[in-house]
């Protein structure tokens, strides 16, 4: 990816520092019903939306997606054509693996469990990309040390 779409390299660490707390809040919200009280909003009764709603889950999901985007779109310290190539190749892998997992999941999970799968599926393309891309860089660094 040419640098137009990329963020400065420090965003990799900022993203990582933000992702962990948002993920924890998201998991606690989903499985323990944890909510921040100050995020509860009360609407007028004639609204078509729920009269009372808590926005903790919206906050956790938005925060997780934005922080993962920061990690995925942060520049490497030395951005060049090999990095660009590895980036594109990793996106290709991420899309493919994501849909393969989704295909398997749609035959294994039903109802509420499938809703969970769909929710995680909002994050998996970014997570798979980040893992694949960094793995390529680490693998290459190791072989560099050997040579």
């Amino acid at each position: 990816m040419r640098s137009k779409l990329l963020l400065p390299s420090k965003f990799k660490w900022i993203g990582l520092c933000l992702f962990i707390p948002f993920l924890i809040v998201g998991i606690l919200n989903r499985y323990n019903g944890f909510q921040f009280d100050f995020l509860t909003i009360v609407r007028e009764h004639n609204s078509i939306l729920n009269p009372v709603q808590n926005l903790t889950d919206e906050l956790a999901l938005t925060g997780s997606i934005i922080s993962l985007l920061m990690i995925a779109f942060a520049k490497e310290k030395h951005e060049d054509e090999f990095i660009y190539h590895s980036r594109l190749e990793s996106w290709e892998w991420a899309v493919l693996i994501n849909f393969l997992l989704l295909l398997v999941a749609c035959w294994i999970f039903y109802n509420e469990a499938f809703m969970d799968v769909m929710m995680y599926n909002l994050l998996t393309p970014l997570i798979i990309f980040i893992i694949r891309f960094n793995w390529v860089l680490i693998r290459n660094k190791r072989s560099e040390e050997k040579n």
Partner: protein
Amino acid sequence: MQNTIKVERAIKNMTQADLAEKIGVSRQTINAIETNKYVPSTILALKMAKLFGKKVEEIFTLEKGD
């Protein structure tokens, strides 16, 4: 595609880092090209050939199946 960059580097007594700096890429990229994990762009191939004072086809050669 095969290449003789490692040999050319040795002739010029250059490390991967020296070569990387001279043509404006990272050391990782030079390593990936030398180990045949990455085929460089024409621009990069021309830059390397110029630096080594050789023709591109003297450094890069096609393999069977390319």
